[in-house]
Every structure is written in structure tokens, then in C-alpha cells.
């Protein structure tokens, strides 16, 4: 593999060679004002870059060329589900009639409401839930929303003061812990079993009448299915708690199993993972939550329903938690999700999980590293053994692929959490396997000199944190 990332080395007037200069190093303009406002309300001046459009186009094209994406090659970030994003969904999102203002009265937004209602139903079917709210703008926002729903439910039972704890397995996504804390809960961490699963006996001890909810993903973060899920659900429900499903790994189960059928009461969907809306360098995503029937009255305001005459309307659920987004969430992402699910249909959705699981198992069979937990579904966690996983990752960059998620979950030493998704062909999986092997052959010394094929050589992240320089005002030698 000879992939070498583009870099743009240019000398600026006043400094050493740098990659593509900052916009502010090319040209800035300071403007002053003559506006019809009292002086004390007006700023003295504003300084911002002032590039001409050809310079804007050139700048951002160069920046794009210094950015690795799904279409450059394998991007096997475990739990992140980086897969191919169909192009047509962008055209759907660009349709002019979709770009309306969020304060339009229902009767003038019937098309948008129809899509929202359709997507609510699609997601409810796929998750085995009663309905879904589309308002949370990301997966973590979905977790927070789900826990607010749980809290409202316990409050309605007069139990809010008593149910103070949310149980989270040690291997869970960091967002689970943070979301529980944001919703005002104490977090009880549950260690993993020797097979990577939730230990039922330890769970029995942890669950009591103070338990508000247990948060779980299934398959869990080592890719292993929680086979005792029915028993787990019974334990939590018997104690009066709710079972929350973290949808980060739903890609493994699409059409094969549904959280609602496993006993989960609340779930979030990472639609940007499972249904392939582009990740956009870190968002936007969307994190709808599905709930069972007895929780529907607590959903965020507003929710969409169909009226007798076949039109759609927003309404406020009777005991709504209120709002979790200023308007209706990340509409364009939701629209793309609707388009994606409509394109695939039942068969395509089922094939997605099948090929994702096949790809993960095949890739694992082609690499020599230790994989302590199995059988896994769509992702597996290999161990880099004596080698620092972060160093291993830098080495893999030089093989022309993106490395897996590193050092997480912590229950595997020097973890390399790998998720190829259904979108990689066998050839690409072989490329990835070869990258693992080539990196594994490198010595510690050799790894410390990587990466060399990327736009930037190894970056000193420690000094960035010790001496934070967070805007161009902080850049040394920067001409203000």
C-alpha cells in the first residue's frame, strides 16, 4: 500500500515552513463602523480574515486533502461504526422544501411532520419499542433524555427521592457515566466478568430499591452478546428499576434482535452510526430514543401523531419532561436516516448486520493478535500485548489505513477495538489485516518514528495540553 496523505508545505512571510497557513496569516481586514446605533453599543473594530473566494476554495480544498475519510480506506474505529455513506442522502437533505423554519405551524409543515412520523414508526419497529422521539441531537443527548424520562417515571411513582443510582458496566461508553451524572444520578460501576459480560451475581448484589436504571449495550463493548439478558432484565425490573439500551452497537443486531424484545424499556439510536448519516468530522448526529408504552407520556415535547383525517400534528405528552433541544433536533440527519432506511428495507437492514458480523469475524481470523473475548459480533477487541496500543496505532497510519480505537475498553490490555462494518470488501479487509501484520512486525524503536506518511509527523499532545493555544491569537509569531 502506497497511500501517502497530501500535505501543503508553504512558507509564510514571518515564520518557518508550516502546512497550509492559517486563513488569518494570508490576509485579514479590520473594519470600523458607521451604523445607526449609540456608540456605547457598537464595537470599535472587527478583525477577521478577508480571503477572496478563490483563496477560500483553495484553502479548504487543501485542508480536505489533509483529512482522512471513509473513502480513503478502512476506518475501523470500534463502537464508532464508520461506514460508507450513500451519496443520494445528501441530495435528499438538500431538497428545498425541507429547509423550512422550525416555528412553522403544523398545517404548513405537513411534509416534514410526515417524515418525522414515518421515522418514529420505522425506529419503533426496528427497536421493538412503542414509539421514538427524534429530538435528541446526538447519542449522548439521547442517553441524557432517556435518563430524564426514567427520572420522570420514578417521580410519577413518588420514588424520585429513593431511586438515586444508575448502574453502568465498567466497560460502558464514557457517555453513559457522564449522562447519568448530568441527570443527577450517582453512578454505580459494575465490573465485567472473565468472559467480558455483566456478572449476574454481582448485578443481583448491586441492584436494590435505590436503582433507577441499568445502562447496557448489547452486544457490549467487547462485541460479545449479553446472553443472560432476560435474567438481567428480570433482576432490574423486579427491583423496580428500568433497563436502558445504549444503541451504539445496534448495527450488529439490525433485524436480528430487538432491544424491546430483550426487556429494555428505553433505548437510544445512534442514527449516524447504524443508519449511516455521515459523521462530518464529529457531528452532527442524532440520538432518537425509543420507549415502551408505559413511558410514552414522559417523552419530550413536542411529539408527532397522526390525526383522524390523516394529517399530522405535534402534541405535548401528558407528563412530558419538556425539551432537550431548542427546536426539533438535527432535522437534516433525521431526513437522511429516513431516506437510508427506506432505501434498504427489511432485507437490506438484515443484510447489514449479517455482513457487518461476517466482516468482523473474517478480519479477526486474519490477524495474529490476541483477542481475549468472544464469540463477538460486529466488533472485536484485540490486544497489542507488550506494545503500547497508541504506538501501534501510529504505526498503522503508515500502512495507509486508519487505526482502530485504542486503549478502550480498559478491560483489555493495550486494546485495539476494531469494527470494520459491512461496507468493507474482502479486499479491503485483507489490506487491513496486512496493516495489522506489518505493524506487529515493527520494533518499538521503529514505531516511535511513525507516522511518516501523514500530513503531519508525530504530534506532541502533552505540550498542547500544558500550554493551551486555542486560537490564532495564541499562535507564536502570528501577525495580528
Amino acid at each position: 500500500m502506497n497511500y501517502r496523505q497530501a500535505s501543503w508545505d508553504r512558507k509564510t512571510d514571518n515564520s518557518e515552513e508550516v502546512n497550509e497557513p492559517l486563513l488569518s496569516e494570508k490576509r485579514t481586514q479590520t473594519v470600523t463602523y458607521d451604523v445607526d446605533l449609540p456608540d456605547e453599543l457598537v464595537r470599535d473594530e472587527l478583525t477577521l480574515p478577508e480571503p477572496a473566494e478563490p483563496e477560500v476554495a483553495s484553502h479548504y480544498t487543501r485542508l480536505s486533502q489533509m483529512t482522512y475519510s471513509v473513502e480513503h480506506g478502512p476506518y475501523p474505529l470500534g463502537s464508532c461504526t464508520m461506514k460508507y455513506n450513500p451519496k443520494f442522502i445528501e441530495d435528499v437533505a438538500a431538497l428545498e422544501n425541507g429547509a423550512i423554519h422550525p416555528d412553522r405551524p403544523d398545517e404548513y409543515a405537513q411534509g416534514t411532520l410526515a417524515v418525522l412520523y414515518g421515522l418514529q414508526n420505522y425506529l419503533a419497529e426496528i427497536g421493538g419499542m412503542e414509539t421514538a422521539t427524534l429530538q435528541p441531537p446526538a447519542g449522548a443527548a439521547g442517553e441524557f433524555t432517556g435518563l430524564l424520562v426514567a427520572r420522570a417515571y420514578h417521580r410519577s411513582n413518588g420514588e424520585d427521592g429513593e431511586r438515586r443510582e444508575v448502574i453502568v458496566p465498567s466497560s460502558a461508553h464514557g457517555t453513559n457515566f457522564a449522562s447519568a451524572a448530568m441527570a443527577g444520578y450517582d453512578v454505580v460501576e459494575l465490573p465485567s466478568d472473565e468472559d467480558g459480560r455483566v456478572p449476574v451475581d454481582a448485578l443481583e448484589e448491586a441492584v436494590y430499591d435505590s436503582t433507577a436504571a441499568l445502562m447496557l449495550t448489547n452486544p457490549n463493548t467487547v462485541g460479545v452478546f449479553e446472553r443472560d439478558i432476560e435474567e438481567i432484565a428480570e433482576i432490574v425490573h423486579d427491583a423496580g428499576g428500568l433497563l436502558y439500551y445504549d444503541g451504539a452497537n445496534l448495527n450488529a443486531l439490525l433485524g436480528r434482535a430487538r432491544p424491546g424484545d430483550m426487556g429494555f424499556d428505553i433505548m437510544h439510536y445512534n442514527v449516524h452510526k447504524t443508519f449511516a448519516s455521515p459523521h462530518g468530522g464529529g457531528g452532527p448526529g442524532a440520538g432518537p430514543i425509543g420507549v415502551v408504552e408505559e413511558l410514552t407520556e414522559f417523552l419530550p415535547d413536542p411529539h408527532v401523531r397522526e390525526t383522524e383525517d390523516g394529517s399530522f400534528e405535534f402534541y405535548e405528552p401528558a407528563e412530558s419532561i419538556g425539551k432537550v433541544h431548542g427546536f426539533h433536533g438535527n432535522w437534516l440527519v433525521l431526513l437522511k436516516t429516513y431516506a437510508y432506511i427506506s432505501r434498504l428495507g427489511d432485507g437490506g437492514l438484515k443484510d447489514t448486520s449479517a455482513m457487518a458480523v461476517l466482516n468482523a469475524n473474517y478480519l479477526a481470523s486474519q490477524i495474529d493478535l490476541d483477542i481475549p473475548y468472544g464469540p463477538f459480533h460486529h466488533e472485536f477487541v484485540a490486544s497489542a500485548g507488550d506494545v503500547d496500543a497508541a504506538e501501534f496505532a501510529k504505526g498503522m497510519l503508515d500502512e495507509g489505513v486508519h487505526p482502530p480505537t485504542t486503549k478502550w475498553p480498559e478491560i483489555v490490555d493495550e486494546a485495539l477495538m476494531t469494527e470494520p462494518t459491512e461496507a468493507l470488501s474482502k479486499d479491503q479487509l485483507d489490506v487491513l489485516a496486512a496493516a495489522f501484520a506489518a505493524t506487529d512486525r515493527k520494533t518499538t524503536e521503529e514505531l516511535s518514528e511513525t507516522p511518516t506518511t501523514t500530513a503531519a509527523a508525530r504530534i506532541d499532545q502533552l505540550s498542547a495540553a500544558r500550554n493551551p493555544r486555542l486560537s490564532w491569537r495564541d499562535v507564536e509569531g502570528h501577525d495580528e
Binding site: 449609540p38 464508532c80 411534509g111 419538556g322 434498504l344 459480533h377 503531519a456 509527523a457 491569537r473
Partner: protein
Amino acid sequence: MQRIQHDETDLSHDPDEPSPFAPQTPEDVEAMLSATGADSVEELFDVPEAVTFRGDFDIEAKSEYEVRSEIEGLLGRNADRTEFLGRGHYDHYVPSVVDYLSLRSEFLTSYTQYQPETSQGFLQALFEFQSMIVELTGLDVANCSMYDAATALGEAATLAARVRETSGSRVLVPETIRSERRSVLENHADGAELTVETYPLDAGNTDLEALSGLIDEDVVMVYAESPTARGAIEEKLSAIATLSDDHEAAFCLGSDPVALAVLKEPAAVGADIVIGDASVLGLSASYGMGLGLFAVKEAYLRQVPGRLVGTSETADGRRAYTLTLQTREQHIRKERATSNICTNQAWVALRTAIHIASLGATGLAALAEESLTQAAEAAARLDDVDGASAPVDDRHHFREFVARTERPATEVVDELADRGFLVHELGEFEIQVCVTETNSDAVDDLVAAVREVLV
């Protein structure tokens, strides 16, 4: 290439409907299965029979053309109306260059920049976004996005509680705050055991006397907006800042990047935190999709929620960019993180940065000046209509303003909608009108329609 023909007994596939986005050929599947030692894909699933799903969702697969046609048809049911809607969310024209550049696959289909060496371009773009917000607010630190203004406000309140040396439990917000924004704030406040209370305004400006009567040592944050949800430019920001300071409360200002191009920098009026919605540049109205702007003074740096991009050096001594101060974040700090935010609005931030770059300082200031004059002109013209007076608040306005009508607002709004125009209904006899370059051509027609309605 021949597509997979699945074995009918294999429940993981439907032989007629493979995923169009999974590239495996039948030969591949066979070879891969054989490498794993399994006879069928079915065998690779470790799902107990009792929870295996064998039903159907009844979602019919469609061709790309069919999906596009279906959605075009659905969205066609959104009535064709000229919107004069705002109240914190605005439709400005987005230059084509924003779409063409941001839709490059490298930006659109990349992930969070956890491997900085291979993500320099996006990191630099986010660093530049942060820098633009720093220039506009005058504050020291901006993060590279929250979801929207409402969630940013919620995060501001919990930050204010954390940075305070003494405990406190009250947050004060203006009575004109949108109810939706307040509701989001309350959900954040609830988990942090804070309560939200409103303070009154007087003719569109903060009622300082009332505010000073409400503020005490238990207040952790005072929030003000400029422009307000009614479009008025708040004139007493410095006084609010002083009052907050006297009680060790953080002063959080809500604004937006277009308004900030002309208004006094928040840092200069004493703001500790600025929140707002920056999608006003970069996205169309998009049914309320947002980009939470979040900036703070240096002292709050370690308590900032969300991602920060900083500069560093490579091993060979060159400037480079990386995510930094990640020990604040949920993936490291878990329940002690400053926020749960993980996926943010990075791509929208990129679009906003490109939009600002393509306007430049001159273009952004011109857009802001237009927002002042268009609102003033439209208000003056409505004021000339018999039965209407505008603006209701004797203040300077930005983009939008409130008008009083002699007929009940419900009737006015409904009849304007019948004539093709959407405006906000506020009080019993108040409507709100927002003007930007995307609807300014229709102001004549709106005024004529109001005249007809008010006859």
C-alpha cells in the same frame, strides 16, 4: 459483479434484498465463512433463540429513484409560504462555496480527530472556527461546538455552578427567553440541583431595579440576550455584568455571530460566557438544526464542556493541530466529565467557518448592518399601516421586531398565512416579524397584506 444469492434457510439474509452498501460477492462470503470456520453467517450470531427476531418490519426496500421521489412528494406537502419567522433562528443566504467545499468526502465522511496526524485539515478548520468566535466575542476561549443555543445555555449554567467558590442554586433568565430554550435549560439545571427564575424587562430592556431585587448570593448565573428573542438590542449589558459580578454570579450573554460583528464585544461589556446559535451562518433554516456557540473567559478554561483544538508541534518541529485538554471529556473523565457531549456539530462548525471566511470582516459587517436597517425599515413601514404600530419596544432592533395590531393577533396571523405569509403570534395583540436578505424582496407584499388584514 454478481450480488449475493443467499441461502433461504439463512435467516440473516433476504435473498432478494441484499444491502446495496455491502460489497461482498458470493465468492467472498464463501471464502470468508470458510476462514472463520462457520458454515453460515447465521452461526456467527450468538443470540439466544428466545430473543432472536424472526419477524419483519414491513419496510419495503426501494430504489434510489423511488426514495427520492417519495421524499420529494412528502416534502412537497410543506405549504408554499414566505416566512418572516425568526425568534432566535434565522434564514440567511448560504453561498454556494459553502456547500461545494463542505460536501467534499474528506470533510463529510471523516470522524472525530482522535488521530491528529491524519486529521490535520479538519483540525485546522476547527481551530480557525474557534479563532473566529474568539475574535467576535473578545473572550479567550471558544470550543468547537455544542448542539445549539439552548443546550449551550444548559451547559453554561452547570459550568457556572462548578466554577463558583461557594455553592448556589439559582439561575436568572429574562422573561422574554423562548419557552423552549428555558425548558432545555431547566432539564440541565434539574440534574445539577439548580432552579431557574425569570426577571422582568421594561420596554425591551432589562429592568435593572427588578433584577437587583432578585439577585443575591445564591445566584450562580445571570443570563441576558442581545438581541433578545423579540429582536431588541439590550442596552444595559455592562450594568448586568456589574450586578452579577457583585454577587459572584457568572454573566452569560446569548447572541449570534452576525450581531456580534457590529455589537460591542461581549468581553468588553463584562460577559464571562457567551452562548448562541452560530448555524445562522452556514445552514439554511433547516427546521431548527443548530450549532451551539460556546465561549468563556480564560479562568473557566478547565471547566469548558466539549472539544477544544489547540496547536502543538510535530516531532520535526512544525506547527500542528490536535484535540487537547481531553481530560475534561467524558471518554476519559466519565461521570466527572464537564459534559456528556461526544458527537457535536463539527461539520456545521466547518460550514460556518467557510461562510465567515467567504464573507470576510467586510461582508460580515455589511450583513450585520443590513440586519439593522432592514428591521428598522420594515418596522417603520408597518407602523404606517392603520391599525398597526411597530416596533412595540422603543429600542434598536436586529433582524426582527414586535408589532402591535388592533385586531387579535391570532386572526391577523391566520389571515396573513392565507395570503402567503408566516409571522409569529406573540401576545394577544402582538406579532413578530423577521427580515433577512432571503425575504426582504417580499416586505412590500407583506405590508400590503397587513394593510388588507387590518382594514
